[in-house]
Amino acid sequence: MKAINLDYTAAAPLDQEVIQAMLPYFIEHYGNPSSGHSLGEKPRKAIDEAREKVARLIGAQAKEIIFTATASEANNLAIKGLIAGGRKKGNHIIASSIEHFSVLNQLKTLQKEGFEVTLLPVDRYGIVDPDQLASAITEQTILISIQTANPEIGTIQPIEELAALARENEIPFHTDAAAAAGWIPIDVEKTGVDLLSLAGDQFYGPKGSAALFVRRGTRMRPLIEGGIQEKGLRAGTENVPALVGMGEAARLAYDSIEERPKKIADLRDQLKESLFNEIPHLHLNGHPEQRLPRNLNISVEFVEGEALLMRLDMAGIYVSSGSSCTSQALKSSHVLSAIGVSAELAQGSLLLTLDKDSSADDITYITGQLAQVAELLRNMSPLYHQFMKEGNKNARV
């Protein structure tokens, strides 16, 4: 049976170069970078180099990179660490309504603790309006956190414009670039953001590798207190192999920041065209152009996502959905709801993320399978039959 992954945003296999770069650090150069003796030297140099490579990917300086284990940790360090750093006084925080849960759930907690939180709406494509940000800013605003791109609908924000507003008002600006880094060019000097989260496993690096860019001069407190690793901002023995892997993945992403995303985006566009040509009643979610190269998000009208996912799985195609049934919390996607997708269409949403190894052949297979599956499920859907009847009625009138 075929096996085609279209859920690369959930996980991707390591690049061969990445795993090869990591392997020597499990057994041969197993030392602790903090050791004063020779066994610490290789690992120390290795993470210094990794730091350089990660910094280069986003236009930062190496000393501005704080390694963490996950993007969730980076987001938590960004927000809690900045607030605890407490340079700016106030109790108001602004974010977009389509942030990742590792931002949103913190804000909920902060609200309970007495902070005011403004969640900016987005337009039907998922874009934050800079004017709305401008008018949300108050004297009390101490932090603005707006993602670089959304992992679900792929929409890319006008970060430069948004960050400029923060800067004018001297408010620290954080951007969660976990879905974007490695896929679109990022330059923290150009955009002027103060904090930026990224995740190695989102660009073919290993799980357990992530980082927070902290602009020099930003006053922060650690989330994990203890030793003085990572300039005192993240205690704990460094995960040398993972960070080396992230460095190598960052190098590969940087070196191909034009070609690789373009190749995947072309395939993605072909897939989109093929699906929309062959299957009726599909809807595109997210921005038609300002979107991540590997991301396609559609809603299959009249059917529910988990059933789609299971049927496709049986055909060796792996996707994810924003339906409530596929979410462990049993809530349908807050992102789709924020861009005004109806609850019914959210239930039938499919997130398809392609890979550098996706092929044109895959597209033909996927299209055929999704067409079949959609037909099969529609044929048992009360909504579809209702629509057909009403459609027919309407046609008669």
Partner: protein, 127 residues
């Protein structure tokens, strides 16, 4: 794949009795697409027995398997016995459902019972 029992997978893969009975004796609809699940049962009654049971389902794997199972369980039963089918029984017959999918099992029996109630109402009117 969600952690479904073999029985659930079997009913999901090959759901029985899909469809809509033309001129049914009773119709029961529960749920709505907003919540993620919706079922419409139609029944044909003869001599106080469910001669035929069909359904359309919009929903997850569990919802589809539940409707299929309910239709199988109900078919041929007397009205009284069919009304005794509980959500728990449906889940049991399916070899259990994951905790977060138990609510789906409720829909199936509910929709069936609603169809039977509808049949009873119609009987009253006709009587």
């Amino acid at each position: 794949m969600p952690e479904y029992s073999e029985k659930v997978m079997e009913h999901f893969t090959k759901p029985r009795n899909i469809g809509e009975i033309e001129e049914p004796d009773g119709v029961g609809e529960v749920g709505n697409p907003t919540c993620g699940d919706m079922m419409k049962f139609t029944i044909k009654v003869k001599d106080n027995r469910l001669e035929d049971v069909k359904y359309f389902t919009f929903g997850c794997g569990a919802a589809i398997a539940v409707s299929s199972m309910v239709s199988e369980m109900a078919k041929g039963k007397t009205i009284e016995d069919a009304l005794k089918i509980t959500n728990k029984q449906v889940a049991e017959e399916l070899g259990g459902l994951p905790g977060n999918k138990m609510h789906c099992s409720n829909l199936g029996a509910d929709a069936l019972h609603k169809a039977i109630e509808d049949y009873k109402e119609k009987q009253k009117v006709e009587a």
